[in-house]
């Protein structure tokens, strides 16, 4: 090995603290990119594969009842590839050893075999056998939630009739990757399950012999779905069709896509911020490391090493550091991405996860890190080789110092000499000090970015469940029901207050934009549901017209006073124009609201309701549930408290885990930057500090010169970090406003305090580590050698 390469390795060993710190900065940037892109890629890839392997349908439609013979007409619709008619039945279940009500959905499969579309993936056991009337396959999350295995039995109530069914197998379906009950926002595997049963058995139990109430179909390659949907709606309208829709409106696919969109945003924004910050820091850090070696560059030049030799030497040094950092980042990134994808798999049920590391992502990450390091190195090496060697070897002439305003001020008179040294050092090297402040500030900004969502999420959920949804139980009926049902409910055990609502599935359209949602019709001054504006003030429901969440109004491009087309997706389908009366700001969901009577008029019906909100005494819940269970019209019973905790868990598991990773990375960067800064400050000042020791200053006094400078830089950096971090957070927040959640842009004082505490802690740790070096500072040797 050439001696100059040996020098390289020894330098790396000698500088290992700093090299490690720089490698951490690189690793964090690379890791962020790899995590984001790889997680996204893993979920997309897994989704694509499952959809393909299971022949996931393109178009879906529910209807009341149509004769099986109609299938021929469906097949003949131009553009249709394969069609499958099914029977789908809402059921209630009793699960052994589980107290609470469980809802379910049974879907038919051809007798004894796999369906053509939406094929099931068998995790365990087998599909119901041909000719058997008492067998079902159940969805995997439901089986796990209740510990149900093949061979166990379930009691199912179909149209009021109790059936005891045997579980033959545990399956996964592309329709229920995200297994969501009707009207739920989040999966509840205990209270909602999906079952598959032989078509003849189900049709018989559900009164659908020779008929179907659900169709799924695939399209030929290159065919647009809209004309097919229109044809389907025309054909099935007379049979109670409630509007065909594409995959975009299929609940599982919708939520999966939304999650992927969110990940996609994070995969662009977070790594961009991270890589940009680490690139900047890398540039600064590499520059400083090489500047300390200015003397060595001069010596090597004096002996005939050329500028090219020096460029190669330091290029290699940088390259090795980048390599170490990138390898670390790639390894840790792949590991974290794998773990994070596994968390997503908890919510999105796929047969298996496809996971791959894309070389181009690694190359991109390494390329950015390498380029940033190269620029920093090149500038410093150029600075070192540009000087004639004799000049580079000479100790630099004493720098210009003068008294700044601080020292001339009255406050200045109070400064002791060491403090004066600090102030002058910083004011003399304004550019360098500025870079240090910016570097530390950026790491504080990353800390803020990584932590602000924790506060914002709490705020969002608090608003939703304290100000918007004030009920504690949420009942949905199977069909529109007369208002008198409210009176029945009022006398049930533990019920304190009851309020009815009318919920209508609609498609809202304005110009080229449309959106499928529901209009919630409620009392003019609802007691259990709050409509709020952006400042959390209560909004009155106008007697007529539509109230939209501001997110939805933005999506449709409408403002109060504009009209939207409301396509009613229930009963007799019609489209009517309705004026937008107001907008509201709620953080979760994309609903539209109307006064209930106005909605009833729009539906051309009497004062009907489709559900109620209850305020109850939790102590009497078991009795209440028993009674509710006996009401045939009750389709679902939702416990808001459960929903709230489910939503918290969901966000904690997905977004916040991501943020926690980010936070760890931000913390590492903060420490790396502060520590490096401290090391370099020490190297630059060692001689001066040794001189002061010789002159009789105590260790504590000279330590103050160094530590005081570091602390001062950190204190200056904190507001910079707050400012930049707020900008980063705003950027992320804007980009991450999704259909389901809109995080309020809220940075709590605690978040600011946390970011500040993070860099202060990093400073404290660095000071401890540097203190060790200060204690070993050898006065004589530091003065003897010019280094």
């Amino acid at each position: 090995m050439r001696t100059i390469h040996r020098k390289l390795l020894r330098d790396l060993t000698e500088l290992r603290g700093q090299v490690a710190a720089i490698a951490v900065v690189i690793a964090a940037g690379v890791m962020m990119l790899i995590i984001a892109v790889t997680t996204l890629d893993a979920i997309s890839l897994t989704k694509e594969r499952f959809y393909r392997d299971s022949a996931f349908a393109d178009v879906f439609v529910d209807l009341k009842r149509a004769p099986e013979g109609l299938i021929q007409r469906l097949v003949e619709i131009p553009g249709v590839n394969q069609v499958e008619t099914r029977v789908k039945a809402p059921v209630r279940m009793e699960v052994p050893e589980y107290e609470n009500p469980v809802r379910g959905e049974i879907i038919s499969i051809p007798d004894g075999r796999q369906p053509t579309l939406n094929r099931l993936y068998l995790r365990e056991g087998f599909l119901p056998e041909a000719g058997r009337w008492d067998q079902v396959a159940i969805s995997e999350p439901f089986s796990q939630a209740h510990g149900l295995r093949a061979g166990d039995t379930l009691t199912v109530i179909i149209r009021g009739r109790l059936e005891t069914l045997t579980v033959t197998g545990v399956v996964l379906s592309p329709e229920y990757v995200y297994q969501l009950g009707p009207a739920d926002l989040l999966p509840d595997y205990e209270r909602f399950g999906v079952l598959w049963m032989n078509r003849r058995a189900l049709a018989n139990a559900f009164g659908m012999d020779g008929a179907f109430n659900n169709v799924v179909l695939t399209l030929r390659a290159g065919v647009r779905e809209e004309p097919v949907i229109d044809a389907l709606d025309q054909l099935l309208g007379p049979y109670g069709g409630i509007g065909a829709h594409g995959r975009d409106d299929q609940p599982s696919h919708f939520f999966l896509s939304m999650e992927l969109d969110q990940l996609r945003v994070m995969a662009v924004i977070l790594p961009t911020i991270f890589l940009a910050v680490s690139a900047f820091l890398l540039n600064v850090l590499m520059g400083r490391i090489i500047r300390i070696q200015r003397q060595q560059v001069a010596v090597l030049k004096a002996f005939g090493y050329g500028n090219r030799d020096m460029a190669i030497h330091y290029g290699l040094l940088t390259g090795l550091i980048v390599l170490v950092g990138s390898a670390l980042g790639t390894g840790l990134g792949a590991w974290a991405a794998d773990a994070l994808a596994a968390v997503y798999m908890e919510y999105f049920r796929f047969p298996e996860m496809s996971f791959r590391l894309q070389p181009r992502v690694i190359l991109l990450a390494v390329g950015v890190a390498g380029a940033a390091a190269a620029v920093g190195t090149a500038r410093a090496v150029y600075g070192a080789v540009r000087l004639p060697p004799a000049e580079a070897m000479r100790p630099p002439a004493p720098e210009h110092f003068r008294q700044g305003w601080l020292e001339r001020s009255r406050l200045g008179a109070l400064l002791d000499q060491p403090t004066r040294i600090i102030v002058r050092n910083l004011s003399r090297h304004r550019y360098k000090a500025g870079l240090s402040v910016l570097g530390i500030g950026l790491s504080a900004a990353l800390l803020l970015l990584g932590s602000y969502q924790f506060g914002a999420v709490t705020q969002m959920i608090d608003v939703q469940y304290r100000l918007v949804q004030k009920m504690d139980i949420n009942l949905h009926f199977t069909d529109p029901t007369p208002e008198r049902a409210l009176a029945e409910l009022r006398v049930m055990p533990g019920v304190q207050y009851v309020e009815g609502f009318r919920n209508v599935p609609v498609r809202l359209a304005s110009g080229r934009h449309d959106y499928r949602t529901t209009i919630l019709g409620m009392d003019a001054r609802p007691g259990l549901y709050g409509l709020i504006d952006a400042d959390y003030r209560s909004v009155r429901l106008p007697p007529d017209g539509l109230v939209l969440t501001d997110y939805l109004a933005g999506h449709l491009g409408v403002r109060p006073g504009d009209r939207v087309q409301v396509e009613i997706m229930e009963g007799h389908r019609r489209t009517v124009g309705v004026e937008v009366a107001a907008t509201v700001s709620e953080p979760i969901g994309v609903s539209a609201y109307m006064e209930r009577r106005a909605l009833n008029r729009l539906m051309r019906e009497g004062p009907a309701i489709t559900g109620t909100w209850l305020l109850t005494d939790a102590g009497q819940h078991p009795d209440l549930f028993d009674r509710l269970w006996e009401v045939p019209r009750v389709a679902s019973i939702g416990l808001i408290l459960d929903a709230e905790s489910a939503i918290r868990t969901y966000i904690e598991d997905t977004v916040l885990i991501f943020m926690a990773v980010l936070l760890v990375l931000a913390g590492s960067i903060a420490f790396a930057v502060v520590y490096n800064n401290a090391r370099i400050a020490f190297a630059e000042r060692a001689r001066e500090l040794a001189t002061l020791r010789v002159l009789g200053f105590t260790r504590a006094e000279i330590a103050w010169i160094l530590i005081g400078e570091l602390v001062l830089l950190t204190l200056l950096a904190i507001p910079v970090g707050w400012l930049v971090g707020t900008g980063f957070a705003l950027l992320l927040n804007e980009a991450m406003s999704m259909d389901m959640f809109r995080l309020p842009f809220l940075i709590t004082p605690r978040t600011y305090a946390f970011a500040a505490a993070g860099v202060l802690l990093a400073t404290a740790l660095s000071v401890v580590l540097i203190g060790h070096r200060l204690r070993r500072l050898d006065m004589v040797s530091a003065l003897k050698t010019v280094e």
Binding site: R2, T3, I4, R6, K7, R10, D11, E14, Q295, Q296, A298, V299, L300, K301, A302, F303, G304, Y305, G306, N307, D309, P388, P389, A390, E391, M393, A397, P398, H400, K784, T785, V786, E787
Partner: protein, 246 residues
């Protein structure tokens, strides 16, 4: 580049270096320092020259310019027939690599390399080097070759620096206050190493110092003051360094 071996000075001796009207002006902060104000001098082949001057006389500047470590403001430095003042960075780098050896007051060893490696880092890029081992043996350090600079005394470090400077078998050896950081006894050992190299390898050697005693070991003494050559004196006899003390 070849040192023009045909250039002859007074007495027919071969001239290795010649300067003509050499000036150097520094800007240190706001202060203009006239380090050299028109120096004319020669160095002859195989000769050991001591350049004597007080602090600030310009002797280090002169040495740095001769060695291609620094640029001149005006005048000529002829190495053979090549004018170093007008040479570009590539020419100067090649000149340093192949023709000059340096010894600095503060040794300037690379602390992460052992004695042997500090020499090897130079021999590896030279055209016709001796081995690092031979070079270190010449300065009497054959037993300390694998020590790091921090494990060597000041005198030993300076001898490593001399070994490093002569290992490439340079045409000229330039020493800037080589004993400046050493005590008298150690300084003598270092001077002996320089003298030994000059005698054994016939390397043209220039030593700058402010120490008048050292002048006695030279063939010729050039005195500098205020950026000018004030006197050139030829010693009748070179005194061996072992006889010197200060």
């Amino acid at each position: 580049m070849d040192a023009g071996m045909e250039v002859r000075g007074q007495g027919g001796r071969q001239v290795v270096f010649a300067t003509r009207g050499l000036t150097k002006v520094y800007l240190t902060g706001d202060v203009e320092i006239h380090a050299l104000r028109g120096v004319d001098m020669e160095l002859y082949a195989g000769e050991l020259t001591v350049m004597l001057g007080a602090s600030g006389s310009g002797k280090s500047t002169l040495l740095n310019i001769l060695g291609g470590l620094d640029s001149a403001t005006d005048g000529q430095v002829l190495y053979g027939e090549q004018d170093l003042v007008r040479a570009g960075d590539r020419v100067l780098t090649a000149f340093r690599r192949d023709h000059v050896g340096f010894v600095f007051q503060f040794y300037n060893l690379i602390s992460s390399l052992t004695a042997r490696e500090n020499v090897a880092i130079v021999t590896e890029i030279s055209r016709n080097p001796m081995t690092p081992e031979d070079a270190l043996a010449l300065v009497g350090l054959e037993k300390r070759m694998d020590h790091f600079p921090s494990q060597l005394s000041g005198g030993e470090q300076q001898r490593v620096a001399i070994a490093r400077a002569i290992a490439k078998q340079p045409a000229v050896l330039l020493c800037d206050e080589p004993t400046g950081a050493l005590d008298s006894k150690t300084g003598v050992q270092v001077l002996e190493a320089i003298e030994h190299v000059n005698r054994e390898l016939d390397t043209t050697t220039a030593v700058i110092t402010h120490n008048v005693v050292i002048a006695e070991m030279a063939d010729r003494v050039i005195r500098l003051s205020d950026g000018l050559v004030s006197d050139v004196h030829v010693n009748e006899r070179r005194r061996p360094p072992s006889e010197l003390s200060w």
